[in-house]
Symmetry: C2
Subunit: 224 residues, 2 copies
């Protein structure tokens, strides 16, 4: 959260503005999560941050830009989390499944996370104008996940349909779907169900591949 605020020295103009911007983004996260894009008012966001409407419009062109900037910041965090997991995994420090499990728990702890995720998804699905911009932000964390699954698949007998992309999609779906169910009804989704599911998944892929060991047979022109 907030780290270095030098209470002694006066903040420079640029520092003050950056601080205002940060506070506005934090307030926006809270209000957009609770009310949604259309339901949230810029006035409430500004007041929650401790500023006026004017301050908000001096930092963001309009409501949509604020929302999209929040989306960028939101994804920066996801990228950081994914990178951390990937690093731990590649160092061999931690099992990949455990690391992914920690991401889910972290996301679950932040009660706004699932709400914001849902709101961003709807916004992207409804607004083709900004869809490309938003989709581009997802490529980096998704690539990290595919790398992780690719590594895991290399260690077992996977059938040809179990590509890193396909398995990454399945894991992302599990993450998303379990997080959402847990948000509404924690009793239905225990904290370690995600971990179990991922292990079942890989065990099943391995078992399926072992049953059809033709997998390295054919290689027409290019692997994909």
């Amino acid at each position: 959260m907030d780290a270095e605020t030098t209470p002694r020295r006066r903040l420079s103009r640029a520092e003050a503005k950056a601080r205002t911007r940060k506070l506005l983004l934090e307030a926006a996260a809270q209000i957009f999560a609770r009310k949604g894009f259309a339901g949230a008012s810029v006035e409430e966001i500004a007041e929650t941050a401790g500023f006026s409407i004017g301050a908000l419009y001096s930092n963001f062109a309009n409501k949509e830009e604020l929302f999209l900037e929040l989306y960028s910041a939101f994804n920066q965090d996801r990228i950081a989390a994914a990178a951390e997991v990937l690093a731990e995994y590649e160092k061999g420090t931690e099992d990949g499944v455990n690391a992914m499990g920690r991401i889910l728990v972290d996301a679950d702890t932040d009660s706004d996370f699932a709400l914001l995720l849902g709101e961003f998804w709807l916004y992207a699905a409804r607004n083709p104008r900004v869809y490309d911009t938003m989709a581009a932000r997802l490529r980096e964390p998704r690539a990290a996940l595919e790398r992780l699954t690719g590594n895991a698949l290399a260690e077992l007998k996977a059938p040809p349909e179990a590509t890193p992309q396909a398995v990454a999609a399945v894991i992302a779906a599990l993450f998303d779907g379990l997080l959402r169910q847990r948000r509404l009804n924690p009793g239905l989704v225990s904290a370690d169900l995600f971990g179990h599911a991922v292990r079942w998944l890989f065990a099943g892929i391995d078992a399926t591949g072992a049953r059809t060991p033709v997998k390295t047979a054919r290689r027409s022109k290019k692997a994909n």
Copy 2:
């Protein structure tokens, strides 16, 4: 009222009202899906249905009631679909996985389905006032799914953590998560990935259970 039966052409008062109601609900599904609850206007819904605002308010108390009635109708369809799958499965006519796969494809064909699902989820998560009502509507289809997974699990060696409830949650998560990814980027999620994922899941559960065949061993005091 005047129960005049005119089987020829003219609709009775009640029939006309029922027809208006149905058209309004269909329009509401479209507009709520495209704009969301807060973003949709009752005027646009009424006009899309071919009526005026007054007609809408004569059929529904307010915007929220219209939304919740739509949710009920939406779930009636889901219950019907689930029941159909369950019936086919229990008759032995169709493999359970194939049947579930068909549900996903059907949902994917209706471009409004995922949007509405997302909107309903957000509304339930944000409005504790109506959460119980909405959650109650989910119990029936969820129970059907648990019954389906319970039957499937009975035919293989499942570890103790693979309860019908837990596995049903995983399958629901796969359904939800894959549907949402496919909605934004169909290239990432092939039409049969859901089927593959479910098969991998059950194969993995079976393999895991076979590896730890102590499953009926110990029962200290209370199952959890």
